[in-house]
């Protein structure tokens, strides 16, 4: 069984992001593996370990520097990597076509994982476009998955915490959600082992991607300026706790 995990090389969420020319960010910051993709790799590795003769292949489109992100996936347990090298930005239509081409040149997928979104573009489209191109079923924000030889039974979390359970025939595309697992990070011995793993490089132009009739491009990026107005919460511990609870419920609406 071949399990592909599509990974993205994204800026560290802790980085100081600066916008240049109103349309791109200053890339002189730390880039790393998209956090949702960590859940995808961890799950792919777990599933691989329950099926004989199966492998996990990490796929990425990006600049050469994105090999670091593939290396992170290999250290986390993926068996080999595919990097489609491109210095350009690609919209989700093109990205899905590229990923499909790289996968098709490598083998036959039984499962394709993505993260449920990337933390930079937050487009949430790649998994659906991949599914459509391959004609595979798709589920996203997946928090549980059981796989046998022919199907995957998944739990998909909807807004408000509701969970739907679906059965997908294989091959299928799965967008990993945060609740899927606790990512298993590499130890030093894992990192040493992963150094011997291979990353195959494709050049974007060599994949002969058919241009799409539709496309999407960035018109303008604007930094989000959040006005912060700190308020001191006073009183004894129980009153402070009660006030925080009220704020979280009524103002922040997170609980």
């Amino acid at each position: 069984m071949q399990i592909y995990v599509c990974v993205k090389h994204v800026p560290d969420s802790a980085a100081n992001i600066t916008i240049l020319d109103k349309s791109r960010i200053d890339e002189n910051v730390t880039f790393l593996l998209n956090p949702y993709d960590e859940h995808a790799i961890t799950e792919a590795v777990r599933i691989r370990d329950t099926f004989q003769e199966s492998e996990v292949i990490a796929v990425c489109i990006g600049k050469d520097d994105a090999e670091k992100t593939i290396r992170s996936a290999l250290a986390m347990g993926a068996d080999r990597g595919l990097l489609v090298s491109s210095n350009d930005d690609h919209d989700s239509i093109e990205t899905a076509r590229v990923l499909k081409a790289a996968i098709e040149r490598t083998g036959e997928p039984a499962l394709i994982f993505t993260g449920k979104e990337s933390i930079d573009a937050e487009g949430m489209q790649t998994m659906f476009r991949l599914g459509a191109l391959f004609d595979f079923p798709v589920a996203t924000n997946v928090i549980k998955i059981d796989v046998d030889e022919t199907r995957a039974v998944i739990d998909s979390e909807l807004s408000g915490g509701n969970v739907n359970t679906y059965e997908l025939s294989l091959p299928c595309v799965v967008g990993a959600g945060r609740g899927l697992n606790t990512p298993k990070y590499p130890t030093f011995p894992d990192i040493v082992k992963s150094r011997k793993k291979t990353v195959k490089k494709f050049i974007f132009a060599d994949l002969n991607i058919e241009p799409s009739k539709a496309s999407m491009s960035i018109v303008e990026l604007e930094p989000l300026k959040q006005a912060r107005s700190p308020k001191e919460i006073t009183g004894d511990a129980s009153i402070v706790a009660q006030k925080i609870l009220t704020i979280l419920k009524e103002e922040a609406k997170v609980i």
Binding site: A14, V29, P183, T187
Partner: protein, 445 residues
């Protein structure tokens, strides 16, 4: 501001506060000014707050060991003052110094014997018993992961360790400075915050006071520079002071990492502080059962000297601002991952980036200056947190003696420790010294 002060202390970190406390106890009317909103919020807050005695000189060991007595009796030192934020806690984990080529541990042991530091010698079996997650292979020399030799298989083992049971760390360094501020206030000391010094004024070749950014002038016949990473900028504001220092200070960017403890190992409850020169790291437990991983500044690591204002504003650019870098995250975590092979290293860096106020030889400058009335406690180079209460007392005695006529440059003050039966030559910390090549030139001091 109409009030008159005997001494203005620039900085309210973990060294500025005890200077105020000790001067106040001697009857000086003091004012600390700090550009941040509260005590200990600058580079003190970023300190690893490790309390250990291993230094490369006997005087260094003696001063650190003297410091233990303050941390072990914290409430007593503060004279039981109340702090609405609570008291910082001394976490007396004990301190392991791995015997390796990365530390001159034989010199440390000799210094321990000379000063009378309590210690035990541990063989590797004992280390394995106390730190069951450790792999005791020798990994020397320290390298970076970019170097293919970083991944070479080790052959030999380290030679055991020296364990100092009184060592440990302080759980909240910013709070410890705040505690000392409250103790100082109880003795009459005053503090003002959000106040940035832009000028040191003088008249007739004697310091007369400071000017703040908002134009406020505050007068005092004594000004003490405890500006941490901004110390060199403050020295440049005072007439002839910068030029009169043979030893200069500058701001060194430094990254410290948080990496989760391996499954099944409760490092927070069962762990020790450990200095491991073999891998160029020191570690201590941190809340959330994580390893706090500091770097012992191995030669292969780059040093980033930065403008402190740009750094704190996050405007230095990658590797010069206050955001962790992937490269250093991997270097420090992978080094520790060799010693602790079950340590899982997340992809996203977590930790603290702050600045050392670093001197030319990594030994601090505790001294007067060429401008009468102007003193400095600077260049603490990431290794003086533990000494702060001792330095507070020593600086107060130095200032008092100089104000009473001591020519410290000619006849350096001999400071007698309160608890350890020894004196130290304060001239050792002189601004006029030549670079001390006995120094480790690292955070080890």
């Amino acid at each position: 501001m109409s009030e008159k002060y005997d001494a203005i202390i620039i900085g309210a970190g973990v060294i500025g506060c005890p200077i105020a406390y000790e001067l106040s106890k001697m009857g000086y009317k003091t004012l600390n000014v700090d550009k941040l909103p509260d005590a200990g919020e600058g580079s003190t807050a970023g300190s690893c707050a490790i309390v250990r005695a291993h230094y490369s000189t006997a005087d260094g060991v003696a001063m650190a060991y003297e410091g233990f007595k303050y941390w072990l009796n914290w409430e007593n030192y503060l004279e039981n003052v109340e702090d609405e934020k609570g008291l910082a806690k001394y976490m007396n984990t004990g301190s392991i110094l791995i015997k390796s080529q990365g530390h001159d541990w034989k010199k440390v042991q000799k210094n321990y014997d000379e000063v009378g530091v309590a210690y035990e010698e541990w063989d590797n079996d004992k280390i394995k018993k106390e730190v069951p997650v450790a792999d005791l292979h020798e990994f020397w020399p320290v390298r970076r992961p970019e170097d293919p030799k970083f991944f070479d298989e080790p052959a030999k083992e380290v030679e055991g360790a020296i364990f100092c049971p009184e060592g440990g760390y302080v759980n909240d360094p910013a709070l410890s400075a705040h505690n000392i501020m409250r103790a100082a206030e109880a003795k009459g000391a005053k503090f003002i915050f959000n106040a940035e010094v832009i000028d040191i004024r003088d008249e007739n070749d004697k310091v007369t006071g400071i000017t703040l950014k908002d134009g406020t002038q505050i007068d005092a016949p004594i000004v003490v520079n405890v500006g941490g990473p901004h110390s060199f900028m403050i020295n440049k504001m005072a007439k002839g002071v910068w030029e009169g220092c043979n030893i200069k200070t500058k701001a060194l960017r430094h990254e410290v990492m948080y990496c989760p403890s391996p499954d099944g190992y409760n490092y927070l409850a069962d762990g020790y502080h450990m200095s491991d020169g073999d891998i160029g790291c020191y570690v201590r437990p941190e809340v959330g059962n994580t390893f706090l991983i500091g770097s012992e500044d191995p030669e292969c690591d780059p040093q980033e000297w930065v403008d402190p204002d740009g750094f704190y504003a996050g405007k230095g650019g990658k590797g010069k601002d206050n955001v962790l870098t992937d490269e250093q995250w991997k270097a420090q975590c992978y080094r520790l991952g060799k010693r602790i092979p079950s340590l899982e290293v997340p992809n996203q860096p977590r930790g603290v980036v702050d600045l050392y106020d670093c001197s030319d030889d990594w030994i601090p400058v505790y001294d007067k200056s060429d401008l009468p009335g102007y003193y400095m406690a600077i260049g603490t180079s990431g290794n003086q947190y533990k000494n702060a209460p001792v330095v507070g007392h020593m600086m107060a005695e130095l200032i008092d003696a100089c104000e009473k006529g001591l020519d410290h440059d000619k006849e350096p003050l001999q400071y007698k420790f309160k608890y350890t039966d020894r004196s130290t030559d304060v001239g050792f910390f002189s601004r006029k010294r030549e670079i001390n090549y006995n120094s480790s030139f690292s955070v080890n001091g």
